[in-house]
């Protein structure tokens, strides 16, 4: 919005912007706040992780418990993200391509997990599948463990990451309508072929965007997982839980060393997210919504 001013108008200031001093001051305050609240916490993770040098940092990743927690985190994300992506595509397809009663309610219900505290998200599965839960006695009788076991961690993670893909795809596919699909179908393409060759290319960047955010949260979820995990060493501890256990044992280097991996994940996620927004902003309808 910078307009070239003729040389004589050098002193002229647009009536809809602030004096340079005010501008500098506001930018300064914003940068200071962001630095204090966002840059310092990020920096301290790496500084603390290397506080005793490189070797203690690296030694953390030889610890079998830490290795197991990394493996479990990857496993949980590998199950959660595809399932929620499939759900997101399915929900967006039904909501965007057809009209049916109760659609608004359905969209609201899909967003519901975002307004539930992570701890409550864990609690609801304990009440269902825990030893004292609704299905508890049956599960115990059949020797199936969900709570304090990996299935519970997966369920809780699916809950907290539930809306991520759906909420990116729904507004975009609603905007796109059914024109492209109808054209493909009328030219003789099958339903599946229409989806793969017409719909998917239209939504790929938004899908990737949703998957990216879903993955970041799935790998980093703490509260919900903490309630259902039982903190069994090397068995049901994901990376965030491993960080908590190291920290509570005063193994600060270990805690921050594990945290650097998740911190790096967050930075990579933000970088790809920004790249997608800059390059394919038009194809990501929900990009600017909270």
């Amino acid at each position: 919005m910078t307009v070239e001013q003729p040389p004589t108008a050098q002193k002229f200031r647009s009536p809809t912007t602030e004096a340079p001093v005010v501008r500098l001051l506001l930018i300064g305050v914003a940068v200071f706040c962001m630095g204090l609240f966002f840059v310092l916490p990020m920096a301290v993770v790496f500084v603390e992780a290397f506080a005793r040098g490189v070797w203690p940092y690296l030694a953390n990743f030889v610890d079998p418990e830490v290795v197991a927690s990394i493996q479990l985190t990857l496993l949980v994300a590998a199950i959660t993200v595809p399932l929620n992506a499939l759900f997101g595509i399915s929900a967006a397809w039904a909501i965007a391509k057809f009209s049916f009663p109760g659609k608004t309610l359905l969209v609201t219900l899909i967003d519901l997990p975002f307004s539930v505290s992570p701890v409550v998200a864990g609690l609801i599965y304990v009440l269902l599948y825990g030893v004292n839960g609704v299905f508890g006695p049956w599960l115990v009788a059949h020797g199936i463990g969900i709570i304090f076991a990996v299935p519970g961690i997966v369920l809780a993670t699916i809950f907290v990451t539930f809306p991520f893909v759906a909420r990116e795809l729904i507004p975009l596919m609603q905007e796109q309508g059914v024109g492209d699909e109808e054209a493909a179908l009328s030219l003789g393409a099958s339903g599946l072929s229409t989806f793969l060759h017409t719909t998917l290319p239209n939504i790929r960047w938004a899908l990737l965007y949703g998957v990216l955010l879903c993955n970041a949260r799935a790998m980093g979820e703490f509260g919900a997982v903490s309630v259902v995990s039982g903190h069994l060493r090397g068995l049901t501890t994901t990376m965030p839980l491993q960080i908590e256990m190291s920290y509570n044992e005063y193994n600060f280097v270990g805690a921050f060393a594990t945290a650097t991996l998740l911190g790096a994940l967050a930075l990579v996620t933000l970088a790809i997210k920004t790249l997608l927004e800059t390059r394919y902003g038009d194809e990501i309808a929900g990009a600017r919504r909270v």
């Binding site: 506001l26 706040c33 945290a259």
Partner: protein, 285 residues
């Protein structure tokens, strides 16, 4: 009524685009399995206790204190985030400066950074020997392991909600309105107060409510820095975890339902606000 019947007919009608029953069927099945049935089980469990027992649990001093700590610290954090969030949104949207894109990307850090990582790094920073905590320690101000620490964590978690709510609305403010205000002799500050602020107010309130709702439920980033002393710095989500570890399922359930109630009230408030904005200004807040 006729519209509703017409609507239901579409369930049986054949569409040109295939996959309606499959996609809607899977959507409703998955939603019920993961979200609706477990939440219903929670509410049913609380309802099974009866009103008197629910009241008895909710009026326990420790529960009242935890709910109050959660609500008050979240409220104060959200209030603080409003001016800072509007300022950041303003700077990002109005000014061109070196590093603006980086700053813009960084706003989403609390969304991307796992809460446990935020928790340990904030408590390291704001502890008495931490980089920031050491600046306050000589004045006798302790931040980490006090309610002030909870507030710091909630400011961190809530700021992006305000920025991201205000940013798109601020970008849409018609510059002609500001020009008109300027020609009528209004200063920039007055233009902001009287022209811009009323337009972005619904977005500010939305961001405020979102930050508040998130703050009340927040767990991971808070428990490391909070100190977790009952009656002083124990938040409601932590009390749920404590009750669960003591096998007090009734207690945990009742607090959880109370928290759900608070979030739904806030959610309803946001929806009403957006409806009101749509009517008044003809655009989405």
């Amino acid at each position: 009524m006729s519209q509703l019947t017409l609507g239901w007919q579409s369930l049986g009608r054949r569409h040109v685009v295939p996959g309606f029953r499959l996609s809607l069927g899977f959507t409703i099945f998955y939603l019920s399995l993961i979200v609706l049935i477990p939440l219903a089980a929670l509410v049913a469990r609380a309802a099974g206790l009866g009103l008197s027992e629910i009241w008895e649990i909710l009026s326990t001093p420790r529960v009242v204190a935890a709910l109050r700590v959660s609500f008050v610290t979240s409220l104060l954090a959200a209030v603080f985030n409003v001016p800072i969030g509007v300022l950041v949104a303003w700077v990002l949207g109005r000014y061109n400066f070196y590093g603006r894109r980086l700053l813009d990307a960084m706003v989403d850090l609390p969304f991307a950074l796992p809460t446990a990582v935020a928790g340990i790094s904030l408590s390291a920073l704001y502890a008495e020997n931490g980089w920031v905590g050491a600046l306050f320690a000589p004045f006798g101000i302790k931040i980490a392991y006090t309610p002030l620490g909870i507030w710091v964590a909630l400011v961190f978690i809530g700021l992006p909600f305000v920025v991201r709510s205000v940013q798109p609305v601020l970008a849409e403010v018609d510059s002609e309105l500001e020009e008109a205000a300027a020609t009528l002799g209004a200063s920039r500050w007055r233009t902001f107060r009287r022209v811009v602020a009323p337009i972005i107010l619904p977005a500010i309130l939305t961001g405020f409510a979102l930050a508040l709702a998130r703050g009340i439920g927040e767990y991971g980033s808070v428990i490391f820095i909070a100190g977790n002393i009952p009656f002083v710095s124990e938040i409601a989500p932590l009390l749920i975890v404590t009750k669960l570890s003591e096998f007090d399922y009734a207690g945990a359930t009742v607090i959880a339902v109370a928290m759900l109630g608070i979030s739904f009230l806030l959610l309803a408030f946001i929806n009403l606000l957006q409806l009101w904005t749509l009517r008044r200004f003809g655009h989405d807040g």
